[in-house]
Symmetry: C2
Subunit: 357 residues, 2 copies
């Protein structure tokens, strides 16, 4: 029996036991037992566990995360690596992914470290790996041949990619079904009789852009048709480029009858251009879009409402985090590949193609 001095007793009331040691002392137990009790290790009888848990709660004790992570060799933290610009532009997709990641990370009792970079992402990844500040990392926007995949494999830092790359190495990813979404949108316009369709796509370096371009052509091919050689525009995903591109194509003597946009932002720009040229969406011109936008900047709020393929970017974020944590905890020995479905939401932005003008 250990004599607990009265001082200790009063201490318990006054200050939160910040310490495993103090807590153990107060309970008259060893640190090991207390530690194991808190983690519900087998071999600790329920009565002891309850006593310990109650005391910990009363004292407001929580294990020091730094010490714990040093001891167990894991930080129970993952990082999201991203170019800082994705926070500067109104990249709602990114924010949506972030929301999904946050949710899942919290649910699994992990923490999320934000790791923005400007310029040299590889250096940041190297630093994350060698300083062991996180157990794994999520990377986004893979290039067609993305060097980060090789690097991370070599650094042995668990990672998951949002999107796919064409590299031969093994890696886990979560991606939306771009391939079929763009094909579906294109098919829709073709079935409405449109032939001169302009696809406002993203920048060619990204894999998903290539995938979308291919899907576009596939939809034509499936109907025994061929798009015009300059049907696809490879530009950035902003309102401004959507606007400029649309304007340029509208002023072309060969004016298209429909636009497919890669994002709501581009679509917003297209709407603006059409407005300026006095063309009514869904009457004089058809517009569709991949990416439904997020609440408040949503395709549904366009005037007229925009027909679009919607995917839950948020759940992509959740999957990314969950898969990464599984990878870290070895629950998933094999690389995981997940392709999320999309949904086509018909609204009022598509008209039957004019017979001929």
């Amino acid at each position: 029996m250990i004599e607990v001095p009265a001082r200790e007793e009063s201490k318990r009331l006054h200050k939160n036991a910040a310490d495993l040691k103090t807590l153990a002392l107060e309970l008259g137990l060893s640190q090991s037992t207390v530690s194991r009790a808190l983690r519900a290790h087998p071999g600790i009888p329920a009565t002891t566990r309850q006593r310990v848990v109650a005391a910990a709660e009363a004292a407001g004790y929580r294990p020091n995360a730094r010490a714990r992570s040093l001891a167990i060799g894991r930080a129970e933290t993952i990082a999201l690596s991203f170019p800082l610009e994705r926070l500067q532009l109104p990249e709602t997709n990114f924010v949506d992914v972030l929301a999904g990641i946050s949710t899942a990370v919290t649910r699994r009792n992990y923490s999320l470290l934000l790791s923005p970079f400007q310029g040299d992402e590889a250096a940041v990844l190297r630093k994350l790996a060698s300083s062991k500040s996180v157990d794994g990392v999520i990377i986004t926007r893979p290039l067609v041949e993305d060097p980060r995949i090789g690097l991370l494999n070599q650094l042995r830092l668990p990672f998951v990619v949002h999107g796919r790359s064409e590299v031969k190495e093994a890696y886990s990813f979560v991606d939306t079904d771009n391939d079929n979404a763009f094909e579906r949108l294109t098919g829709l316009l073709l079935d409405y009789g449109h032939r001169h369709i302009v696809a406002i796509n993203g920048l060619a370096q990204f894999r998903y852009v290539a995938a979308r371009a291919a899907s576009f052509r596939r939809a034509f091919a499936a109907r025994g048709l061929t798009p015009l050689p300059d049907a696809i525009e490879f530009v950035s995903m902003t309102e401004a480029t959507g606007y400029e591109t649309a304007l340029r194509r509208l002023d072309d003597p060969q004016r298209p009858t429909a636009f497919i946009c890669g994002s709501v932002f581009q679509a917003r720009g297209v709407y603006r251009a059409l407005g300026e040229r006095g063309l009514k969406v869904g009457v004089d011109m058809s517009v569709v879009c991949h990416d439904d936008g997020v609440r408040g900047c949503s395709a549904a709020d366009f005037v007229p409402p925009l027909t679009a393929t919607a995917t839950s970017i948020r759940s992509a974020g959740e999957q990314l985090a969950l898969i990464l944590i599984d990878l870290i905890e070895q629950n998933a020995p094999e690389p995981v590949h997940e392709i999320l479905p999309f949904e086509l939401v018909l609204r009022d932005s598509v008209a039957l193609a004019q017979p001929q003008r």
Copy 2:
């Protein structure tokens, strides 16, 4: 002289020295010296330092952040506590703050932990404090009487508030100059002859909302006028509420001649409502807005462009992080109060009030 076995030598080439110990061994120095050299402590001669730094770089060595933070008692990490919804809605302000925080945190060689909550923020803050995962926290959207301030002071967790509260306790904050911005906008409309102005404000529980309401009245008072009793609407900061509120006020027999909005989102809703009622902004009706929006959803892109007060939310974020880190590192013993200026950008959304209808 220590005999370094050949194996060690080859090891150096093959695998990155993950360890202070190994690195020290390779250099024939003690851990202390290597550690101090890397941190550029005084007392380590330059030649030694260079040798050590070179070896560390060659080996790709970076101190284990977990061990370091345990040893120094700091995590060199701060958290941003926020309600998860702020990532779900297109809260561009929030993202802008986040961008600013990210930038500053990175610049100071700290890390940023994202700490979203749903429901009980106090519990999350308590956990952050007791598990010592971060050295400090940024909180946002203070209430008029915000209990978090007392809590954090009591937990002795350094913190900075984005915005102000009315609590008596000491705390550091960064805020925009809401007080004067709303007054300026109101004054502008009054000077254009408007008298029946509706202010679409935020929810009353937030301190900045109260501040804006007061400024609104102050502008009237400064001209010997009084706003109508129901001039101020306390609603949420979304497009939908902007729309609904505007519609309701437009259909009121006492139709206002001008609207002031608390955010671009509300303003977007107002524009939509006006469109539906066939009213032309800047001709039949005047609209101004506090908050310039961010690129791509900016007041400048409205049709017609929206007159607004602009503040750099991003630099608010930077200040928040910098101040917090100073607080943590004791560079700022006193609470810091920073009020950021705004700028009034005149565009085309304001007309002279009709003589009388």
